[in-house]
Structure formats: structure tokens, C-alpha cells
Symmetry: C2
Amino acid sequence: MENNVASTKVCFGIDVGGTTIKVGLFDELGTMIDKWQVPTNRNENGRYILNDLSEFILNVIKDKKISDEDILGIGLGIPGPVRDDGIVIGCVNLGWGIFNAANVLTELTGLKVIVNNDANIAALGEQWQGGGKGFKSTVFITLGTGVGGGIIIDDHILTGSNGAAGEIGHMTVNFEETESCNCGKKGCLEQYASATGIVRLAKKYLSQNSDSTLLNNEKLNARIIFDHAKAGDKLAIDVVKRACSYLGVALTHVAAVVDPEAFVIGGGVSNAGSILIDYTKEEYENNVMQALRNKDFKLAILGNDAGIYGAAKMVVG
Amino acid sequence: MENNVASTKVCFGIDVGGTTIKVGLFDELGTMIDKWQVPTNRNENGRYILNDLSEFILNVIKDKKISDEDILGIGLGIPGPVRDDGIVIGCVNLGWGIFNAANVLTELTGLKVIVNNDANIAALGEQWQGGGKGFKSTVFITLGTGVGGGIIIDDHILTGSNGAAGEIGHMTVNFEETESCNCGKKGCLEQYASATGIVRLAKKYLSQNSDSTLLNNEKLNARIIFDHAKAGDKLAIDVVKRACSYLGVALTHVAAVVDPEAFVIGGGVSNAGSILIDYTKEEYENNVMQALRNKDFKLAILGNDAGIYGAAKMVVG
């Protein structure tokens, strides 16, 4: 292993989550050389996280005998808003307040560090080596417990003035909604198109509908709902169509702002596959202006590694 | 006049409209040195437009004795979608099809040419020397006969993969609308917040409402409606609030995508002034997620010159 990283420049792509930190070592062409997981130490407001990371990275460099001039730097993704200058604007999951995470990790390692939000680095990773490969401008939507997003323009992350660009999950798509989203607003996309949102929709449909269905309230998750929809269960299809319809409409708004080449859909819900893409694209095409029609809709393919790929790409440039 | 352009680099900012072409000569710091208007010759599908322009510019250069090395180039705005590579994707108002307008005008003049859409160059102009001055990332919305938009990120226009970024006017804001927009869709922002949209709303309110009002169907335009709203006419206020409410909501969608520092509102309707800003900002703040609150809302100040300023700025870089 020592020798096969010597021929080209390398960089680290890091994705800090609430429980584990993913670390990847990449060459500058986007090949993953190695990857590791480190537990996230959230004690004392996460003050040990960057120290732990620094120690881990310096050990890898030593173990693999990588010389300093071959290291392009470290890309770091964290679960919260980050400004272009590296300033983290608070990160509840890690216990972090407002500080310049890039500067701190540079001081600890002596390496160049670029920091961005976890959804944004996943977006960049999917465009570099995943579902968006070959495009220069994509919008990535991650449908998991929540709904996140990332906007890539000409191979670069659009960060936004307060690190909040691509917050597609909290776009209001239903002004009639009476229940509140986690963010405090009502009618956010996340309330319909996240894994929890789809279950919420299904429960609502079940309580209001007397149609025969194989879905039941006790055993409901997004996967089961999609599986029943694929098998032809009418109520499950209605739920999936409704979720995709809000997603498709939200993407028409996104397109009117940035006019991307393609949309890339990831996160656990995207395991549903083509049914998700087909219904979403149909709703998109029915509601978008002519100049924005016929966009590509792709499934993400890097799964949980998207973040470390994108973090590395930030450093490769 | 010959001598005061010799000390610094200069460039041309051009805004091609359906009836007249505005030409401005600027120094690289953004001061307008001179400006002219040339009629738009739309004969034979607008084939003479770029030739006329080239002749006019070369004459100005000769008359003002500007030496070649002092000219940064020409920025050109046209009323249709343009890709980053200078390719115009059809322009109905001029009769143009699909071709590379930048290359043609470079061949004619020997100068560097950068082309973009007229709403986009107005956005850049307002950020450079107008209502958005001092910001690096703004979203410009022009409320005129239609509703246009332009997105500026880090002092550069966001063009989009098909030149359709910033097409905010055709974002769907009302899924219950039964009348069609000019674009063929239903419920576009333009149907409510343009000058014609506001009049359309007022006529609808007048036909459905028996409240006493000073508005009457025979004599209605956006200015009259705003004037009556400012004077306290309840129906006029309802109309203005409704228009601003759709605009405010559309801007929450825009913010969730690009997270700008500020919004700049221009076009004829913006002459209404603070009443427009106040109602729009109120609706925006009530409907946007926390991380995107407290944006600046500014009125455009360059009027019809915004386009030539922005066209010049594209060349200054």
C-alpha cells in the first residue's frame, strides 16, 4: 500500500456525522485508495473531534509514508451550515458553536482544509464520481430522515451567503398544511418526501380512506410503502405519487432559479429506484416552463460514500 | 471628450431591445462616460442588428480616438436565453434563431464580446452600481410587463445550462389558477406580480367585491392601484398585498436554492417604492426557514440603464 499512492497527488475526504466520522484517502482523479471510520466524540460540545481527526490523519500519512508535497489537503463535511470562508455557523449534532473549522484543522495538521455542509459535499461527490458523472451542473436531493439538497454549478458547490443554499427540504410546497415541520414552519417538502414524511402521508391516507390496501398502520416504513406501490396497491401508489408530486414541484422551483443539467436523487428513499424517478419527473415536466423541460433525472450511486468523495473533490478543485 | 477616456481602460455595455438598442461607454470602475440609443432594425429576422451595432461602435472608437489597447471589449444583452458560450437560443423579439452572437460581433469588431440575457445583465448592473451595490450575491427581480429575474453569485451572473437560470416569473405560485400565463402554464408569478398581473388581479377583485373603492375598471394600471393602496383604499390594498404575497413566497423558494445576501426589485412596478418592499418582505419573512431570514430587500435605482451597466461589468470581470 505504501507505494501505490506515491505516483500521484492525494487528498483526504472527510464526512463528520453525529456518531461516526468517515475518512477517505483519494487520488486526484477520484479513485478511493482507502477508507476508515472513526467514532465521533461528542463529549464537551464536540471539542475533541478535530483533535481526534488530526491525530488520525497524521498517523495515516506516517503509516503510508506519504510525503507532504503529495498531499493536496483535506476536505471536510459537517452536518450544519458552513460559509465559504470555512466558518461553521453552529452545528447542533456535534455540539459546535460558531468558529472557523478550516483554520483550526489547518493549525492542527499543517494542511490546506476546505469545509462545507454534508449535503453539499454529497452533491459534489455524486457529480464527480456518482450518478451525476459527466454533468457540470447538477442539483442533488437526498431523501432520508429529512430532505437535504446541494447545488453544483460548473463543478463547484454553491454555498450561499450563510451556508444555506440548497436547503430544498424546507421549501414550502403546501400552504394548506396544518402540522408543523421540525423546522417550525408548515408545509415543507421534508414533511412529504422524506422517509418519515412518506410514512406520515401513508398514515393520513389510511385514516381517511376505506379502500382495501395491504398497508397497515403497525408496520409502516418508506420501503414497505414503495414495495406495495410497485406491487400495485392503489393506496400505496397514491401515497408515493403525492410525495413525488411535491418533490417534482419543488424541483420546478429549483430549476427556475439555477437551470441545472440534471437532478440526482439520493438518500435511503432513493433505493425505491425508477418508480421514484418516474413519478417525480412526470410531475416536474407537467409543471415546468418550456425552457426548463427535459432535464435528466438520475439516481445517486455512491450511497454513504458520496460525502467523502465530494469532500475530496473540494480539495482537488 | 477625447482625452478623458485615455487614462483608463474602457468598455461598451449594450442592451438590445425590441425597438431600441442602448449603448453605453464605461470606464472599468463603473463610471458611464457616454451613452446613446440606436433604433433596432428588425427587418429580415434582425439580420442587420449586429452589423449596425458594429458600425456604430467602430465609429465611436474613431470619433473618441480610443486606442485599441484601452478597450476591454463589449458586453451585450439580448431579450432571450443565452448560454455561457455566447450561443443565443432563439430570440423572438429580434427574429433571431440559434447562433453564436458573441463570435459574430467579435468577427465584425475585432473586440472581445460577452453575451447574456437582458434580465441577467440588469441584475449585474444593479449589483455593480445600483440598488445591490456593496453586496456580492443578489437576486434581481424585474416587475414590468412581465416578471424577469437574474441571479448574481460572487459578482458573476448565474446563466444556467440553457440560459434559463433566474426565470422566476414562471415559477408556479398558485396551483388553483384557471387562467393561462403567456408561457402556457397556469399560476406563474408573472400572472400576479407584473404590471399586467396586478391589473388582472384588481379587475378580478372588482368583479367579485362590493366594497366601496376608488378603483374602477375603466381606468386601471399598476401605478393607479398602488397610489390608491397608499391612500388607504381597502380593495387596492388587498390587491397589492396579494401580488406581494406571491412575490414574497416565490422569493422564499429562490432563497432556499441560492441563499443570496439581498433581493433587488426593479422594473416599472418598483416605482411604487417602499409599500412594495414592505409587503413583500413581510410575506417572505413569514414563510422562510430560520437560516434564510433577515435578507436585505432593496429597490433598483438604475432604471433603464441597469442593462448597459451590467453588460459593461461582464467585460470588466
